[in-house]
Structure formats: C-alpha cells, structure tokens
C-alpha cells in the first residue's frame, strides 16, 4: 500500500512530464504521500491531484516565459533587420549617386575633348586659308606642315571622346588614322607607297600620346616628302611594340633613298628633326637611326604599366 503512490507517481513522471523542474517537484511526492499513513488512499490521491495542478501551473508559466523571450528576441531581430535594410538602401543610393556623378564627369570630359578637337580644327583651317596669301612655295609648305601637326593633335582628342575609356587611347588605331591623314595631305596614292602598320596592343594617356603622335607625324612626313624621290614608290613600315619590362619601341622605316644630310649639324636641321629630338628628350626616350637600306628610325621609351 505504501509503495503504490510512488509507483503511480513514477508512472505519471514517465508518461507525461519531462520538464526538469517538474521532475524535481515530482520527486518530492512520495515523501508527502508516505507521511499520511491513516487514510492513505484518499490522501495520496489528493496529493497527486495537487501536484499535478502545481506542475501544470509551472509548465504554463515556463511556457509564457518562453513565449515572452521568443517575442523579445524576435523584436530584436526585426530591429537588426531594419538596420541591415537601411544600410542596404543607403549603400545602394550612394552607389547610384557615385555612378551618376561619374557619368556626368565623363560626359563633361568628352565635351571638353570635343571642343579641343574643334578648336584645333579651326586652327588648322586658318592655316589652310592663309596659304592663299602666301606666294612663296616654301612658305606654303611650312603652313602645310603646321596644319598636319595640328591635325595629328586634333586626332588624339577626337579619338578620346569617341572611346569609353577617356584616360587611354588605343595607340595602334591612332597611328593608322594619323598616317592616313598624312597620305591624304600629301596626295599620295596608297597603291604606290605601301604602308604597313604593326602595333602591339598599347594604350597610352593623352600626355604621352600627343608627343609620340607628333614624332610619328614628323617621321612619316619626312619619308613621304624625301624618301621616294625619283619614282614615288616604296614602302613605309610603322611598328609599335612593347619591349620587356615597361618599355616600348616606335619604329618608322622606309626603303627609300636614305638620309642625305648628316644629322649632327643642329643648326641646319629642319624643324621636323628638331621637334623629334626635343620630343624624344621630353619623353625620356632614346633615338637610334640606321641608314643601311632606306632610313630606319627607332625610339625606345618607358611606358606606364599596361592593364591586361
């Protein structure tokens, strides 16, 4: 008889209650139940009911407590989500703003290149118009040369506003355009004088492209004017290539009559040759000339790192 409530209680424990606190409370049942020795059956029943009630209460309370904790934690997470969403929105907005201002700057820069090109073209046209007032054929030639120099600079700006990367110029494309202009200017039939252009993939900033362009302008002009004197036929090779370790080489060669006058005499040099000297120095480059078979100019210089 004494053991029955214990067994009963244990059965209840096993069947229904797994909660830690509940189990601890339940463990106390036999002590109370056993203390009532008189009307043990009824007393134990009373105690069981009481303990069950207490347990239900305990579970209910812990459930409510749990619920509150979950709610609190959920609210906290929502606020963290708010922080993240705000951050995301703000970053997106600032990113968009940056893009927009970049686009604005680019279009402004394009506009400026466009205007510089237009102005240079005006200068070139003015020089052309002045030819009419010049009787001396030597003077006319000088004006023509100046026109070509101005045009070759204009070409750089024209190419800059036409490209997506406003800082860099595709030098190969530029050289082709430049040589084409010169052929037109001197009225050369491309069938008589062949032009070979071979360029590596080189991108230059405007600060380098302008002096390099002027050098090539002078070298090709010289070749067209002087190299192929008797029959006006031959070949001009332009090679632009990267050498090892951040250096590049510009080669302008022709298979014409070869350089007549020695270059050392500075006073007698033409403006073109003096320009080449000055610009090569400006670019910190080295000039080498061979006159074995026609004329072969080679200029090597440092170039900034090329992006791959």
């Amino acid at each position: 008889m004494i053991f029955s409530p214990t067994i009963h209680a244990h059965a209840i424990t096993r069947c229904r209650f797994r909660h830690g606190v509940a189990a601890a409370i339940l463990a106390a049942i036999p002590a109370h139940a056993a203390a009532d020795s008189g009307d043990a059956m009824h007393a134990s029943f009373f105690w069981v009911v009481l303990w069950v009630a207490v347990l239900v209460m305990a579970i209910l309370l812990s459930y409510l407590q749990h619920n509150r904790m979950v709610k609190g934690k959920t609210a906290e997470l929502r606020r963290e989500l708010f922080e993240r969403q705000t951050a995301e929105k703000e970053l997106l907005a600032s990113d968009q703003k940056l893009r927009q201002s970049l686009a604005e700057k680019e279009s402004l820069l394009k506009e400026i290149h466009h205007r510089v090109k237009n102005n240079l073209q005006v200068v070139s046209s003015l020089l052309y118009l002045q030819e009419d007032y010049m009787d001396d054929p030597k003077g006319v030639e000088i004006l023509r040369e100046s026109q070509n120099r101005v045009k070759s600079m204009a070409l750089i700006h024209e190419q800059l506003y036409g490209t997506t990367d406003l800082a860099k110029i595709d030098f190969g494309r530029y050289v082709r355009g430049l040589a084409g202009n010169l052929f037109d200017a001197y009225g050369i039939d491309p069938a008589c004088i062949r032009l070979n252009v071979r360029t590596d993939d080189i991108a230059l900033g405007a600060d380098m492209a302008v002096p390099c362009g002027l050098i090539i302008n002078e070298l090709v002009s010289n070749a067209l004017k002087h190299a192929f004197v008797p029959d006006n036929s031959g070949t001009i090779d332009i090679v632009i290539r990267t050498l090892s370790a951040g250096r590049m080489e510009i080669v302008v060669a022709d298979n014409g009559i070869g350089l007549a006058a020695p270059l050392a005499d500075a006073e007698k040099k033409s403006l073109g040759l003096r320009l080449i000297d000055t610009l090569t120095t400006q670019l910190d480059g080295a000039l080498a000339i061979e006159t074995d078979n026609g004329t072969h100019f080679s200029i090597t210089m440092n170039v900034p790192e090329q992006p791959n």
């Binding site: 609190g72 609210a75 906290e76 929502r78 606020r79 963290e80 989500l81 708010f82 922080e83 969403q85 705000t86 951050a87 703000e90």
Partner: protein
C-alpha cells in the same frame, strides 16, 4: 529657474509614424512642466487629426484664421486648460502651412512668436508623416523631439524624417524619447540601433532623453480624457514623464 520672458524655448514633437504617442507625450509632458512651475503653451500642429483638445477635454470657440485676418489680439485664440498651461487648438483652424505664401508664413511666424512670449516653453505637437507643415514646424523650433517606439516601422519612419530634415533643412540635432518600452534591454537595443544607423549614414549623433514604458493607465486616461500624469501620478508612465520633465535642460 524662471526662463527669460523674451525667449521661450520651442520644442517640436514629431515621429514620422502615427500612433506612437506624440500627442499623449506632448500633453502629459506639458503638465509635468507646469508642475515644475513653468509656463507652457501647447500648439496643436496636427491639422487633420487634431486631438490635443480632446485629450484635455477642451471646447474650442475661437478660430485662429479669423483672428489672424481680423487683426485682433492673437491671445484670444488660446485656451487655458490649467493654470500656466495654454493650448492653441488645431481644430480651431491653424492654417495649413502649405497653403500659405511666404508673406502669410511670415505672419504666422510672427503670430506664434507673439503668442509665445508669455511662456517658458512652447511645445508643438505635429502630424504624422513628412508633410510640409511638419517640416515647417521642425525648422521653426529650437529643439526637435522624436517619439519612437521599438517597432521597426516606427524606426524606419523616424529615420526617413531625420534624414530629410538633416539633408534638406539643415537640422542636425535631434532628441529621442522612446515610448511603448517593455524593458530596459529593449529600450537600449532600440536606441543603439537607431543611433548606429544615423551615425553611419547621416553622421548625426542623437540624444536619448529618456523612455516611457508601455502602460495600461495611459490608454485608460485617454478614454477618460484626463492626462495620465494627473489621473495616475504613481504609474510607471507618469513617473517616466516627470523624470523627462526634470531632464528638459539636457535637450540639444
């Protein structure tokens, strides 16, 4: 202790979101200040849903617009709800700022300045949202008080309004009062979160003046049309509001 007669401090109570307790804060805070021997004017800036007069059970007789136009003494529009506590009720027709031209806006500014001069504090209860009258009142006042609940939507709306005010209206000092708070932990988390966000993206430091707990006596007081600081002075919410009134000199 007494404020200078000529320069009442103007406080603007805003939230962005509605129903976070702007009006109940305004009314009860004003009464708490009056208990501290201050003279307070409450301006109901909420045109659409004006309810300061409802909370104080006032009957509105005079219309501000008429008074403005007739050129009579603007003080006639005020209602004294308690000794030292005057109310300029919204339903009496405080003209919507949007509808006013620059000249009339100046006249309203003068009107508010004239009417304010007899008080230590002027508290403006604004509408929800980011309407132009809300912006106008926020520019007009000396201290901006944001009522915030720990609810993320309230935080989002408050953040949007703070951003607008700081970016487009040159206001860069804001005070926070938390309402509907269910615990210190929740209050701290809310304040930390909104402070972090405004610091990071708007480069603003907010000042947390204090918090008002969620309290059933507030709802009951609203139903009875009696401010809870009077109906249940011992309640948690009332004590919190009295504490806030003690800290009013800390406002930035």
């Amino acid at each position: 202790m007494a404020q200078s007669k000529l320069t009442p401090q103007t406080l603007c109570v805003t939230s962005g979101k509605g129903g976070v307790g702007k009006t109940s804060f305004t009314v009860n805070f004003a009464i708490a200040l009056v208990r501290n021997d201050k003279r307070v004017l409450v301006v109901d800036g909420d045109m659409g849903l004006a309810n300061v007069d409802v909370m104080l059970r006032l009957s509105v007789k005079n219309n501000i617009r008429d008074i403005l136009e007739s050129g009579a003494d603007p003080r006639q529009a005020m209602i004294f709800a308690r000794p030292n506590l005057a109310v300029l009720p919204g339903s009496s027709g405080v003209p919507e700022m949007v509808s006013l031209g620059a000249r009339q806006q100046n006249r309203l500014t003068d009107f508010l300045k004239t009417i304010s001069s007899d008080f230590d504090y002027v508290i403006i209860d604004t509408a929800a949202g980011i309407g132009s009258s809300v912006l106008w009142y926020n520019r007009f006042c000396d201290h901006n008080i944001f009522i915030l609940s720990p609810d993320p939507t309230s935080m989002t709306d408050a953040y949007a309004l703070i951003k607008l005010l700081s970016r487009d209206h040159g206001i860069n000092q804001f005070n926070l009062v938390l309402n509907f708070v269910r615990g210190v932990r929740e209050a701290n988390h809310t304040v930390d979160t909104i402070k972090r966000v405004t610091h990071r993206f708007l480069n603003l430091e907010l000042f947390h003046l204090g918090s008002i707990p969620e309290d059933r006596s507030v709802c009951r007081a609203v139903l009875d049309q009696v401010p809870f600081v009077e109906q249940t002075p011992g309640s948690k919410a009332a004590r919190a509001v009295y504490d806030l009134a003690q800290r009013i000199h800390l406002l930035i």
